[in-house]
Amino acid sequence: MATLDELTTEAPPEPPRPGIGPGRRLIGMFRRPWRWLTSMRTALILLFLLALAAIPGSLLPQRNLNVDKVNTYLAQHRILGPLLDHLWAYNVFASPWFSAIYLLLFVSLIGCLIPRLRAHIAAVLRVPPEAPARLERLPVHAEDIEVPGGGEPAAVAARLHDLLRQRRFRVKVREQADGGITVSAEKGHLKETGNILFHFSLLAILVAVALGSWWGYHADRLVVQGADQGFCNTLQQFDDYGLGARVNPASLEPVCLDMTGFDAQYLSNGEPSVYKAFVNYTIGDGAAKSATIQVNHPLRLDHARIYLLGTGYAPVVKYTDKYGHSQTQVAPFLSTDAMQTSTGVIEFPDANVPATGVDPSHKQQVAFSGVFLPTLPSDPSVGASAFPAERNPALMLTEYEGDLGLDAGIPSSVYSLDQHQIDTGRLKPVGKQVMLKPGQTTTLSDGGTLQFIGTRPWATMQVRYDPGETLVLIGAVCLLLGLIVMLLGKRLRVWFRVPPEGPVSAGALARSLYPGFKAEFESIVKDAKDARTAAERSTLRGS
């Protein structure tokens, strides 16, 4: 915001000095494009380009909103898809061309605001200008006004001065060489103040947005209910994150959080009506606190906020392998529809390790892949849940045995099996799909058992920080204030010419010919003719 300081401290513009140095020539070279850039017409064109440029961002899938949709789109449009990708069509709002437009617009804005601000300050400080030579050229004017005052110019001018002061004009009375007097009056600087405030607020918002994108971050984490399932605000513990360019990953708000409970309520048609996550959290070495996070009510910390994004079920199963070794796993399943039909996998990489030692070939690792239905439909062949709450939960699993492919070093999803391992036959389905109700146990083909203990809820939480937010809000409020003042304000200049003798003439000029401009002028002229003094009129009005 160096420009702001310059603006307030800089001296009024000096008149251009004669002589052309090399620096001057350089300035001269840039002057024309600069003039062009800072003209209102260019600003208008840029404004429209900005609107136009935003359109593809709303019609094509965007990476920042939904990566999967972008990938689907790319897969469906083999030729056009990659071509558009080169043009940043899936990331419009971060594209160089979108940035170019708004940066040009804001350079234009600065270029147009600085002279305007200077002119405005000068105008506020300056006395109302001398009357134009020919009042009859003004948009409205009046001749032959008989102002009471005994024909004495000074007395007439004094009356007019009082009259205009009373109407909140700034007034300057000037004596002319011919013995006449002119009265100049001006009001409505507030309109221009509002205008400048509005446009500076736009700048402030841009700066704040930049602040946020450099020093802000967001990170997502799926949290299963339970003290053993919490997380801390460090990058390693997140499923997904986006950091601003200037964020130091070591200095994120040191918060740790775990979920103690979750309350979900649904309408009869399955739409959610309440989502509430009950959490415990600590900041740094501070004491543990508890809080409730809801949609519309994030947990607000000093330097971060935590949002509740979504929820689902994590089945808990106990698997006992053929050697009698049991393990319990909690595996969050991801919902695939509004009724929380959820899919996922439960992996036991350490299964079937003989008591004698390790199983180096991973030939007997075990995993279960399947579907969880919180409400089994009356016709089970539908394969989809009938209601999002657990009314009649069922877990349907298929066992896989072989090499899970976890050591390959390739990051793999924890929500699905490695398809490559299945395709190459290294991981094979065993037996048929089994359906389990909570508490039920099934015996597997190799003699092991699988028990479905129940489910725990999970929630996706998002940690966010945006240091520009407050400034954006302040900017937005100032913008609105400036806008209202600008649109309501009226700028008006009125002049009276009092000749040495004879009737007075008057004229007025409005910066924009607002409705009522003429009426206001006429009312002033009428008051000028009024025999009563300004003070008398005001007491009359006041009573």
Binding site: A54, Q294, V295, N296
Partner: protein, 339 residues
């Protein structure tokens, strides 16, 4: 209560539709000279009035609707006819206004009963949103009419817009009463959506004024083809243009406020104040276009007609935001509730 609200919608649409036809009748039979001049000039057939299908002849003049100072009469259409609107036309105008009022009352009751049926502010889905926007539009129209009776000829087009929007709303967008999804359950719904509804309703009337300004300007420049021929009985372009500006200058800060409140709410609900969700993007596009309109109008080098076209474009963006974004594009704002 919900059923009552649905019935009231039908009443409102019917009343507006009849009001529209009555306005059309006033428009068509606005003076005694019509029939005579049709016979004389033989240029009536190409002049058809949209919406009503009532043939209008050279209905050039009228006293009740037009600013006397701004008639742009064709030569030969004597000024003596001006003052002579037949009582039938005057009555048609009054009846049309009364019917608009009846429609408005039904419309208002429709929205209020819907609110009682749902136990919340009645603008929680797209059906209710359009219902509320048109109610604001109708209210703005009635207020304008009280303050400037001379703009009555615009009534035909305002009621036309109301009937079209409410018709689409009732037929295509109807949604049974239901509670709000959790994300909408916030007092920001009341603030943000109320502001958006208010701004949109006024901008709707602003759009009608802008479109008619263009029509009338064309007419005053001597264009006689179809849409311009409607300019015949409209108030002078200059006054219409000023009305257009004032409506937009009034609505623009409200629209700005709506967007700001939306951003504050988005911060609480979705974790960011702005995310270029399609709805946000189109709100921004409309805002930028309307800002462009205000700029263009304040710039002397831009022709007023071009500025007015920009305002029309702005309403286009508002309509895209309402219909295309809600029904075609999916985003976080997918609360339309339209299956």
């Amino acid at each position: 209560m919900a059923a009552l609200s649905d019935h009231l919608l039908v009443v409102a649409i019917l009343a507006y539709a009849i009001a529209m036809l009555t306005y059309a009748a006033e428009y068509a039979f606005g003076n005694r000279g019509v029939v005579a001049r049709i016979a004389v000039r033989e240029r009536a057939p190409e002049r058809e009035l949209v919406g009503a299908g009532v043939p209008v002849g050279g209905a050039t003049l009228d006293a009740s609707g037009t600013d006397p100072s701004d008639s742009v009469d064709e030569p030969g259409a004597g000024g003596d006819l001006r003052a002579a609107d037949p009582p039938a036309a005057i009555w048609a105008g009054r009846v049309a206004t009364a019917l608009t009022l009846v429609g408005w009352l039904a419309h208002l009751s429709c929205v209020v009963t819907r609110g009682f049926a749902a136990h919340r502010v009645p603008w929680g889905n797209m059906y209710e949103f359009v219902l509320a926007v048109t109610l604001v539009g109708a209210s703005a129209w009635l207020v304008l009419l009280v303050r400037r009776p001379r703009i009555r000829p615009l009534g035909l087009f305002v009621t036309l817009a109301l009937v079209i929007l409410l018709g689409i709303d009732g037929v295509k967008l109807y949604t049974p009463v239901a509670p709000l999804v959790p994300a909408l359950n916030s007092y920001w719904l009341k603030i943000h959506v109320t502001a958006a509804v208010t701004a949109s309703g006024i901008l709707m009337v602003g759009f009608v004024a802008a479109a008619l300004t263009i029509v009338r300007t064309g007419y005053e420049r001597g264009k006689t083809r179809f849409p311009y021929s409607l300019g015949d009985r409209l108030p002078a372009a200059e006054g219409l243009e000023r009305l257009t500006f004032r409506l937009h200058a009034f609505a623009f800060p409200i629209w700005t406020f709506a967007i700001i409140c939306g951003a504050i709410w988005a911060e609480a609900a979705w974790g960011r104040y702005w995310g270029w969700d399609p709805k946000e993007t189109w709100a921004f596009i409309a805002w930028v276009i309307y800002a462009g309109y205000l700029h263009a109008r304040a710039t002397p080098s831009v022709k007023r007609t071009i500025a007015t076209w920009i305002a029309v474009l702005g309403w286009g963006a508002m309509m895209v935001n309402l219909f295309v974004v809600n029904l075609v594009v999916s985003g976080l704002h997918s609360y339309a509730g339209v299956g």
